[in-house]
Symmetry: C2
Subunit: 328 residues, 2 copies
Amino acid sequence: MQKITVLAGGVGGARFTRGLLHLLKQTHPMADVTVVVNTGDDLWLNGLRVCPDLDTVMYTLGGGINEEWGWGRADESRRTSAEIAAYGRGWSWFTLGDLDLATHIVRTDLLAGGSTLTEATAFLCERWQPGALLLPMSDDPVETHVRLATDADEHTAGELLHFEEWWVRYRARIPVTEFVQVGLERARAGDGVIAAIRDADLVLLPPSNPVVSVGTILAVPGIRDALRTSSAPVVGVSPIIGGHAVRGMADECLRTIGVDTTALAVGLHYGARAAGGLLDGWLVDEADAASLPDLAGAGIRSAAAPLWMRDVTTTAAIAREALALAGA
Amino acid sequence: MQKITVLAGGVGGARFTRGLLHLLKQTHPMADVTVVVNTGDDLWLNGLRVCPDLDTVMYTLGGGINEEWGWGRADESRRTSAEIAAYGRGWSWFTLGDLDLATHIVRTDLLAGGSTLTEATAFLCERWQPGALLLPMSDDPVETHVRLATDADEHTAGELLHFEEWWVRYRARIPVTEFVQVGLERARAGDGVIAAIRDADLVLLPPSNPVVSVGTILAVPGIRDALRTSSAPVVGVSPIIGGHAVRGMADECLRTIGVDTTALAVGLHYGARAAGGLLDGWLVDEADAASLPDLAGAGIRSAAAPLWMRDVTTTAAIAREALALAGA
């Protein structure tokens, strides 16, 4: 168990990985962890490239996260964003904190100077020392949009809206008909991503959003095939507990793609490796233990354990269960 | 006296113009003032376009200036720039305050979107309402550099250094052999600049740096000719009082181009209009009244008045003297 690769979205993936690193420090101090991070939520704000999931993972692992929110930096001021708003160029639904802003400025400057997002991320991580290698799923811009099912404010039904606006401004409360990853068909997997999956000893799917986080990563050309053909076991941790999303509005996303908000349905959505899917193992919460026979019937090895990530210690225990399931 | 055009650098030009506007509100409430602003100090910092003189004029006239410094916004924090420095991308000699930063972000975003600097400046001024039309001397990038006469830190003699680094970091204490305006030969006067000079009823040269502020504006192709051929009188206010620069390190700049730091020498440097120079009138401080006969001998109408810009009222009185000299 030297090389572990995690496919992560934002808060859920970041916190799970923090627990995993906490565990490995004790059990596998020589292990290398690579986190392939969703970049489908990335967006331009005021000419700055903002990468919500990369930043959440970097800040969480590097000790700079605002723990209460799960994103952004601790103790931020809104002074700069209030000034941008005073020019009439602000975003009512997205605030750039003054500390976080520096990350976007440095990243945008690096990208403008010819760095790839992978290189810019490596540069930013030199400061934060996250203890894992963070790899953007792609260096090519991919931006997830939702197609609105109804009108909303200045937007009309049928229109494509950036995922972040739907998620942050509307809290995913407007029904949508589909997710569209703009740029995906031309995107290539980021530098090192395919190798990180192919050469891993274990691949973990943390309790990230299965549609717009893990689902977007899997949709990057080449990544799903790399997972299917990797010799590493692939073990997932359910982001659904007792029929509810652990965090965020995953139920709205699942409904849109026609998947029930249950640990069983998400496990079956990923599918058993033996049947052309992705999973060797699927860890569900104790509340969902009743689903184990159905998962076994579908060819997915599974186990039940407490999955609420209350703190680093309980999250490390979840990671321990996932590793156990991989080794079983 | 409906149309008055001012050619301004930073602090000196901004404060003079503020006094001028204060005066005109009482004496010529219908007057339109246009300020052609030096952009030779503009620079890229962390991928953001910073325009020191435009911002100083805009903030000073719009009520947002840090009065103590003469540049930047009042009550700024260094939190964002400290974060940029934590990434190893800071500038020891230039700090982007958190409020000022919003101006650079919005401007850079507008420029990236295809706006000219003139258009971006108009947009920013919609917020600040400076009470005068601010026109960049050029929409083309022109950046003043100095050629070092000696080594300094990581720089070597003969090297070109951005003017702002020489001015802000080294306080102009390193001897230089020349000023080089990179981009000047290809630059065109900004939109409306030539017309503002040609159609003016009066052109004023405020007590700005005659070399790197007014001198740079005059060096933009077409501007000096427009001044020479304008029917408007051109009246300057000496930035030198009793052999010392009113503010900043103008003496170092004058020395480099071989002009004495005296009100007389700067007046003669601009030259009498009748003799192919620029000036119809030249206002000097009472301390320099002895230079009046020499100026008259050179064909420059002149007068002596108190030229220290202590506050808006005393500065308005200086503007009144300049207007009187123009009308004499």
